[in-house]
Every structure is written in structure tokens, then in C-alpha cells.
């Protein structure tokens, strides 16, 4: 009889994550520089907004402090997502090299194993930048940390992470059937990163609607930030959708996971 026994999923996850971090720290050395790279890369968008607003005033009626709050929420959500899931980008690679086969012969979920194959340390820079920007901006906009507001903020941050994650997972699932869609995934990431931190109100209706319903960018941070900043009336959207924005994340992620499961069946291992 085999000596193997089932173990709970959370324990498997903890094992694999710990291993990934240990592997990454074996290289050590450039950790600080790598983090700095993440911080600088994520700050430039804010510097752009700050430069524009110092010269021209507000954007879509949002002053700089509120834009920074929105930007900080977006970036924190993004950080919360990419620290544990950066390896989704390596799915193409894992399939091409046959590494994915290994995930399928081990007693743990293949998605979990993919996400734990490594950690990408610059993502910690994203998260850190997001938290710092959000905290400073919260102070500047006079954010009242009531329990309700904090709870809504927390849910919105996690929800935002899941909205972005759902888009990434859904597109990544296509890898099981397509030779390569890395570039397509990059494009969706770019749209999220480029538009996610802006008050969409400043943009023409077509762009705003596309970024709300075609690709749910608005649900990442714009709508919940509007609610927290008492701008719900100016969001040009049914209030319940704005207030319920944090729920979009879990719903979309569940749908994306179902798609992943369905596409996984089409996996045809590389080579012979």
C-alpha cells in the first residue's frame, strides 16, 4: 500500500508558497533593488497625474488627493492580486516546457502549483507602493476610518483584486487551446494598468462604458472609490451597482475559475 495520504488544501498551499519564497531568497542580493524597481515602475503613473493636475487643476472634477486615493486603491488591489498570482504569466512557458505535466501527477491542484512555482519579488513593490499611496491619500482626502468605511474599503480592495484576477485567469485559460496568447494577456493587463487608476468620468462616454461593461475596469477601484469619497452621485451609474461593486470580484472570479476548469480538459501535453 502507498504511504501517501490526503492533506488539506491550505496546508499544501502553505508548503508550496514557503518553498517558492525560499527558492527566491536563495538568490538574495538584489532584493532591495528589485523592490525599488517595482516601486519606481508603479509610481510613474502617479507622477504623471500629479504633474498634470498641479498645472491644470482637477481631472473630471476629481482633485489630485482624490485621484491619488483612487490610484492607491487600484494599486493596492493590483498588489494584493499579483503577489500571489504573478506566475499565471508563466502558464504558456509551463505548458511549452512540459512543466505543467508535473502539476497533473501530483496530489494538489494544478492552478495552485502553477501559482506557487515561483514568487516575483517586484510585485511586493507594487503592493508596498499601493499601500503607501493609499494611506497618504486617505489622510489628505480626510477619509473617516469608521468601521463601516474600513470594512467597505477592505472588501473593495479584495474585490478589485479579484476583478483583475478574473480577467487574467479567463484569458490565461485560453492557453490550453492556443499556441500562445501571452501578448493578448499583456494587452488586457495593460488596459487594466493604464486606465484602472483614473476617474473614468473624465473620459468620453464610449470609453467609460467600454471600461465598465466590456472590460470591468471600473469595478476594480473607480466605483468603490467613488462611494468612499461620497461621489456616488457623479458616477453616472445605478447607485446599487456602485455600492455593490466589491461583489463583482468574487462573482467574476468564480466564473473565470469555471472557465479554467473547462479549458483544462483540453490540455494536450507538449512533445510526444
Amino acid at each position: 500500500m502507498s504511504a501517501a495520504h490526503p492533506i488539506p488544501r491550505h496546508r499544501a498551499y502553505r508548503l508550496l508558497v514557503t518553498a517558492a519564497f525560499r527558492a527566491e531568497f536563495q538568490y538574495g542580493g538584489n532584493l532591495l533593488l528589485t523592490l525599488a524597481g517595482g516601486v519606481v515602475a508603479q509610481s510613474v503613473g502617479l507622477v504623471f497625474l500629479w504633474t498634470v493636475t498641479t498645472r491644470f487643476g482637477d481631472l473630471g472634477g476629481w482633485p489630485m488627493a482624490e485621484i491619488a486615493f483612487l490610484y492607491g486603491m487600484r494599486l493596492t488591489s493590483h498588489g494584493l492580486l499579483v503577489v500571489p498570482t504573478s506566475q499565471l504569466h508563466s502558464l504558456d512557458l509551463a505548458i511549452r516546457t512540459g512543466e505543467f505535466d508535473r502539476y497533473l501527477v501530483r496530489p494538489a491542484g494544478p492552478l495552485m502549483q502553477l501559482l506557487c512555482r515561483r514568487v516575483h519579488l517586484p510585485t511586493l513593490g507594487d503592493l508596498a507602493t499601493g499601500i503607501v499611496v493609499l494611506s497618504l491619500a486617505a489622510h489628505h482626502v480626510g477619509f473617516e476610518p469608521t468601521p463601516t468605511a474600513l470594512l467597505y474599503l477592505g472588501l473593495a480592495l479584495v474585490g478589485g483584486a479579484l476583478v483583475e484576477g478574473a480577467c487574467q485567469l479567463a484569458v490565461a485559460s485560453l492557453s490550453f487551446r492556443m499556441l500562445s496568447n501571452l501578448a493578448l494577456r499583456g494587452l488586457i493587463d495593460d488596459i487594466m494598468n493604464t486606465f484602472g487608476g483614473y476617474p473614468l468620468k473624465a473620459f468620453p462616454d464610449t470609453a467609460r462604458l467600454a471600461l465598465t461593461y466590456l472590460l470591468p475596469v471600473a469595478f476594480v477601484a473607480y466605483l468603490p472609490a467613488g462611494v468612499l469619497l461620497d461621489r456616488a452621485d457623479g458616477l453616472q451609474i445605478t447607485p446599487w451597482l456602485a455600492y455593490g461593486a466589491p461583489l463583482a470580484g468574487p462573482l467574476l472570479y468564480a466564473a473565470a475559475y469555471l472557465l479554467w476548469r473547462a479549458q483544462l480538459r483540453h490540455y494536450s501535453s507538449s512533445g510526444t
Binding site: 538584489n30 500562445s180 495593460d190
Partner: protein, 287 residues
């Protein structure tokens, strides 16, 4: 210990070296073209950037349609949109895909650097030629993208015949400076293979200070002064500002061109210096 230079065959003639460099450039250009599909998506990314920047400028611009820049000059929205479009496309062309600014880090990691070192032409100019080939491969895509970028952003004819020729002249040092900067920065990989952080910072800093997001004329004055002191503005801001006639009059135009060429010379020297140190490392550590 013999230095690699001691092993080298007699110096090649100028003609032979030109042929060798053209060959290197062609090789890298063709290698790039293997990723045609990636170019399609990179172009889409470029168009997105232009579109976003245009949206922001349209949203913030005053009703009157003009805004004062440094030195009291008025900049119309049309000029600003044209700037954003041209600067984005030009900077996109000069900034190749991938995290590392040149193929050097990959060649060091794979060890193919030994092949480069054994060639009878200087490593630094070889890498410049390689980088030139990569930019050249992207050029047709930039040309194709331009009309779409113009739709997403805006366009303007050159301010005058003089502005057009100044732009054409300034393109030469602009391209050279971009290549030199990329080669210098990627030589970090002779010291460490894990230089992701350095490359990320370089990419972002170069993008911003080149004026690809905001022209120097709309930066707060201290930031604009800082940008003027750095080499990055010579790759993007200077040529486009010349084209749009924002830099005009014989004196300022000549100064701008002189600054560009000065940076070319300085970056060349820096590259040689860094390379001398790097070569020392390669020889001592045996690659």
C-alpha cells in the same frame, strides 16, 4: 594571462568593419521579425497609451484651447495632442520589447558573449549595431502604427521647412543616444545577472525624462530643469519640440542640436569606460 586584444587578428579595414556591423544589425533585425505577432500587440499597447494620454489632455485642457508653457509660450491643445502622439511613437520605436534594454544580459547568461568577444570587431560597436538592427526591425511597425496613433491622438505638420530639417537632423543623435544608453545600462549584467530592478528603473526613468508622457514644457520648473540635465530628453523631447517649432530661432535650435551631439560624445565615452571595466571583469573571471 593573455588579453583578448593580444589574440585578435590585425585590425579590419573600415569597409570590412562596416560590412560586419551591417551583418550584425541584419541578424538581430531578422531575429526580431520572428515575433511579428508580438509586434501587433505592442502596437496595440502603443495606441492605447496614445489614446489615454490624449483623453487626459483633452479632459484637463482649459476651454480656451491653449495653455501657457514655460517661458510664457502658449501651447494649443492641437499641438499638445500632436506632441503626445509623436513622442509616444518615437519613444516606442527606440525602446525595444522585453525587460532588458538590449540582448546583452541574455547573451551573458547564455555564454554567447564569448562568440561576440571572439569577433574581430569591437564588442561595443557590435552591440550598438545589434541594437540598431532591433530598432530597424520595429521601424516598419512604427510607420504602420503612426496613422492609427494620429487618429487616437492628433497630428500637426512641421512648424516650418526649417523645423522639418532641424527634426531630420536631430533624429541622428536622438537614435544614437537611445542606442548608447541602452548598451551602457545593459552592461550592468557583467556585474550581476539579476539586474531586473536596474532595468525596470531605467525603463521608467528613461520613459519619463525623455518626455514621452509629458513634454518638458509642462513639467514643474524644477523637474524640467532636472530633465534638461539628463541625456534622456535628447532622444524624444528635443526632436519633437523642434518639429513642432516649440524650439525655434537659430540660436535655440543650434543649442538643442549641440546638446544632443554633446551627449552622443559623452555617452560614447561612458560606454567605452564602462566596457573597459566590464572587460577586465570578463577576463579576470573567465566570463
Amino acid at each position: 594571462m593573455t588579453s583578448p586584444r593580444g589574440l585578435a587578428p590585425p585590425r579590419l579595414t573600415l569597409r570590412q568593419r562596416a560590412v560586419a556591423h551591417a551583418g550584425t544589425a541584419g541578424l538581430h533585425a531578422r531575429a526580431q521579425l520572428a515575433y511579428r505577432a508580438d509586434f501587433v500587440f505592442r502596437v496595440l499597447w502603443l495606441l492605447l497609451q496614445v489614446y489615454l494620454l490624449a483623453l487626459v489632455w483633452r479632459a484637463v485642457y482649459p476651454e480656451s484651447g491653449t495653455a501657457p508653457a514655460h517661458g510664457g509660450q502658449q501651447v494649443t491643445l492641437a499641438t499638445q495632442l500632436a506632441y503626445v502622439t509623436y513622442a509616444s511613437v518615437q519613444n516606442w520605436l527606440l525602446t525595444p520589447a522585453g525587460l532588458a534594454p538590449t540582448p546583452i544580459p541574455q547573451r551573458v547568461r547564455e555564454g554567447s558573449i564569448a562568440v561576440d568577444l571572439s569577433r574581430p570587431v569591437a564588442f561595443t560597436t557590435q552591440m550598438l549595431a545589434a541594437q540598431g538592427g532591433i530598432v530597424l526591425a520595429a521601424a516598419p511597425f512604427a510607420v504602420l502604427a503612426l496613422p492609427f496613433a494620429v487618429v487616437a491622438g492628433g497630428a500637426r505638420a512641421p512648424a516650418s521647412a526649417g523645423a522639418a530639417s532641424a527634426y531630420a537632423l536631430s533624429l541622428v543623435p536622438a537614435v544614437l543616444n537611445a542606442l548608447l544608453l541602452a548598451v551602457v545600462v545593459s552592461m550592468v549584467s557583467f556585474w550581476t545577472l539579476e539586474a531586473v530592478g536596474v532595468f525596470m528603473i531605467h525603463r521608467v526613468v528613461a520613459h519619463f525624462f525623455a518626455g514621452a508622457l509629458i513634454p518638458l514644457w509642462f513639467m514643474p520648473s524644477w523637474l524640467a530643469d532636472l530633465a534638461q540635465l539628463l541625456p534622456f530628453q535628447t532622444t524624444t523631447y528635443t526632436p519633437i519640440a523642434l518639429y513642432l517649432g516649440h524650439i525655434h530661432g537659430t540660436g535655440p535650435v543650434l543649442t538643442a542640436l549641440a546638446v544632443q551631439c554633446g551627449w552622443t560624445a559623452a555617452l560614447w565615452l561612458i560606454m567605452r569606460l564602462v566596457w573597459a571595466r566590464a572587460l577586465h571583469r570578463v577576463v579576470v573571471q573567465g566570463g
